[in-house]
Assembly symmetry: C2
Homo-oligomer: 397 residues x 2
Amino acid sequence: MSVTFARGFRAAGVTAGMKPSGRPDLGLLVADEGRSAAGLFTTNAFAAAPVRLSRHRVARGGARAVLVNSGQANAGTGLSGDNDAERSTAAAAELLGLEPDAMLACSTGVIGEPLHMDQLLAALPGLAGSLSPEGGESFAEAIMTTDTKPKQARAERGPYRVGGCAKGVGMIAPDLHLATMLAFVTTDAPVPSAELRKLAADVLEPKFESLTVDGCTSTNDTVLLFASGAADGDLVVPGTSPWEDVSAALDEVGTSLLLQLAADAEGAGHVVLVEVSGAESVSEARMVAKAVADSLLVKTAVFGGDPNPGRILQAVGSSGASFLPQLVDAFIGDVQVIAGGEIPAAYREAGVEEARAAVKEREVVIGVSVGNGPGHTQVLGVDLSYDYVKINAEYST
Amino acid sequence: MSVTFARGFRAAGVTAGMKPSGRPDLGLLVADEGRSAAGLFTTNAFAAAPVRLSRHRVARGGARAVLVNSGQANAGTGLSGDNDAERSTAAAAELLGLEPDAMLACSTGVIGEPLHMDQLLAALPGLAGSLSPEGGESFAEAIMTTDTKPKQARAERGPYRVGGCAKGVGMIAPDLHLATMLAFVTTDAPVPSAELRKLAADVLEPKFESLTVDGCTSTNDTVLLFASGAADGDLVVPGTSPWEDVSAALDEVGTSLLLQLAADAEGAGHVVLVEVSGAESVSEARMVAKAVADSLLVKTAVFGGDPNPGRILQAVGSSGASFLPQLVDAFIGDVQVIAGGEIPAAYREAGVEEARAAVKEREVVIGVSVGNGPGHTQVLGVDLSYDYVKINAEYST
């Protein structure tokens, strides 16, 4: 039930005909008594019309619903794109008896193509009419583009429930303030607006930032977090046990969605977890982790089942982070492949086969220590396969 | 004859047996009366032993020869790698009656594997004995790794000749101070050391920096420029017509080598020239150009023959450069695909087929203007094909 696992939410998804495939392409999620909403948005300079609209409305407060379409991204569409986002959310809000500002918007699909407004507007009454507390699954399906399956998660702590769903298999990069995707997370805990923003920033943002598929960041990235307050339970504020409960449930849902996104990344056969420690700061650790996870040579080596310490060395060395080369160690799984900045003889003589086995795992763990500093981080990447090229070369405008 | 087109140079290449393929793998280039040498070196933190040795010796002055091996990169090899670089250049220098410091070293091949010193030392006398003013071609062949053909160029201006050769088909990125490759350029013009360094920095560095294949930068990148002074002609100093002549000849040789490198890039079917103008500075322009040229989504779109303005928009927007989105224009060939930050209706209605034809050219030109600033630059990239994945997934350690 994903987003409707948390009490106080209704959702639905329908086929409006905006996608050529004829699959479901329009979803609606509503908090019956929305208490608060928080959002994380792309930092791409060409933020899409729905991103600009939602960012503004989340900042004003009072948002408690979101209309999501797949098929067109409504990005690179100028003023008429803004008008389309405005009109479609106004129509949805009116059907639900909400203020227009209570309705947010997300779009995903082809950049530059105007929203198919006729189909969207014609489908809205049916969509609103089918809203239900069991609608999470059909909502999760309606937001998909090239995803092979919906991504859904739920968690429960004490009296509180958290649910979520996400889409996004390409264009996922950690460089920006969040990974490129759409994700919707709901909770029935009573969380005031400021505290909900803090939860989004503290728990969800670092998590979604840590995912990279191809270093590209979309114009439409959005993570929305809604609180309905429908659960019995104390107010959720920092320093209390309700805060710990909700944080833990959000963390669990975020982690699950993240792993599902990576596992379904375009053409990916392996998830590559890069763990960096010992950097001078978190941002320096991030530079190193991202350099390794985004290195085409590392990604193709993982695809080829080849433990290639030289490519890890090369990626770390070109990351731009500052460290002493002679302090750098690296591991593939449990096998040390770089020791003090060198590829050790012990590895070449006895470690290659064990490292090769580690690279053939579905989840490949590459650990890098660059010194004795406090900065550490994780980045989740994927391999680069023929299928990645195929999917992206044939995905036409 | 490439590097031996310039008078006063001898070169040779032999098969020492350091490469499993049994192809030529050891080359030697010597200026009979070396007047001066200049070098550009990788900024990778794990600079290989030969890079550290050559950087030091070029800075001291007096270098006039270089020993180049393919097969092992002698990177990630620690102190014993330094000893190997020292011993091999000392042996080569002794055979030629040169001071050890006059001999530079370059290595290319597998990272982390020690130099095959036995084969190298055994092959040196034969290599030195086969040096000749006609040896440029065999030298150019000995430095190849996965290159499908040698890259050679020559130019002549007035009394001066310039020759050059290069290798390097993967791991080429412009982010660092030079593109990842080995290149050797020679001139018979009489150029003092300081002026030769200036020519390398002014003419060769920006050129080699503009090439990107996969955003990865090797531990071994080196461009060496030698002047023999063997030509009749005035001393080459700035503000004179000899300076103009030698600059122009260097530019011609550099451009030719660059295009040959891009054309032979791993798995590349298209060269993608990204021209950015109107940025606030050259470095801002560079951020934009590199974001477009390195975007996996743009690269796969070019491979697929798909003019995809949305992916260009996305790449420009995520570049981190500062600009006003509403001032951004972009062209594929002559077709405007972004106007004022939007994908214009005129393009969608009438421009797609013409843009598709432009993307199917062997050389694809993507022009981006991000405002009215003075910063402009060019970056040369390539598409991303099945063959790129194949070559890099199967290239084993």
